[in-house]
Symmetry: C2
Subunit: 160 residues, 2 copies
């Protein structure tokens, strides 16, 4: 699997990956009804660096990185990762996160923060913990899950 | 003191209040060099509702409110408060926060979250605690303070 910066030709694959996950509305705090154009802008906008994970010419996943805050807060980055549904369970998210940690380190970031990990997304929580992230905050009832009602969201963080 | 929605005629006063605080770079994770136009957009942009605190025709402070996340996260609001330097110590921030809590409650929010309270801003931390906010997260070394180097930032939260 090769992980590299996204190019314009990757846009259709990125849309294929991110739109169904946004529509599902269970793992990201994004409007499930947002347009494809808005979804793409969210994922690849000028405030972000966007990457793709490619294998045998197929894009299996994508992630973005951005400074989580400006000014004195710009040394902490934030990332979002999405895997193509058909590639779940193959370690794509883990590979992308490992790539992002190395990339962030080499680009001057001192820490990485996930602002809003939905507590019911247990697989993600375990994955991030296995990659060195700690739950540094818990936001009671901060996310209205379409199936479970209001559930906690977690702030996860690791120094680089 | 009257607290009301900001109007176009309040723009000069808002700029007078927020720009010096942004330039100082010690309490908000914003680029201290940002232009006045960008500062104003940050504070009054279309994603926000902006308020001012007025006494005897003078704007003493201003705050904004916005949903902290989209989608299932839109029931938690985020606010920022700034007081005119010459009015510090007169309870302007407390009054604005009390106003915002009532406003948020009456507009369907279930909680209020401050994402990035800089730990050296002890007066603010104590004020928010006295208004019912809890420190629900600590972000180690997440803010580079111009005088103190890297210091922790706090996530503060209260249900409404």
């Amino acid at each position: 699997m090769q992980i590299r910066k996204a190019e314009a030709t990757d846009v259709p694959a990125i849309v294929e990956i991110i739109v169904p996950i946004i529509r599902e509305g269970t793992t990201y705090a994004l409007d499930p009804e947002m347009s494809e154009a808005d979804a793409l802008t969210y994922w690849t906008g000028p405030d972000k660096e966007t990457f793709v994970a490619e294998e045998d010419g197929v894009i299996l996943g994508t992630y973005y990185m951005r400074p989580n805050q400006a000014g004195g807060g710009r040394y902490v980055c934030n990332c979002g990762y999405m895997t193509r549904a058909s590639a779940n369970g193959r370690g794509v998210a883990r590979s992308m996160c490992e790539h992002s940690l190395a990339y962030a380190r080499s680009h001057g970031y001192r820490a990485m923060q996930f602002n809003f990990v939905i507590s019911t997304n247990e697989r993600a929580v375990r994955l991030w913990q296995s990659l060195g992230f700690e739950i540094v905050g818990r936001l009671p009832d901060a996310f209205r899950h379409p199936a479970h009602g209001h559930v906690d969201a977690l702030v996860m963080y690791r120094l680089l």
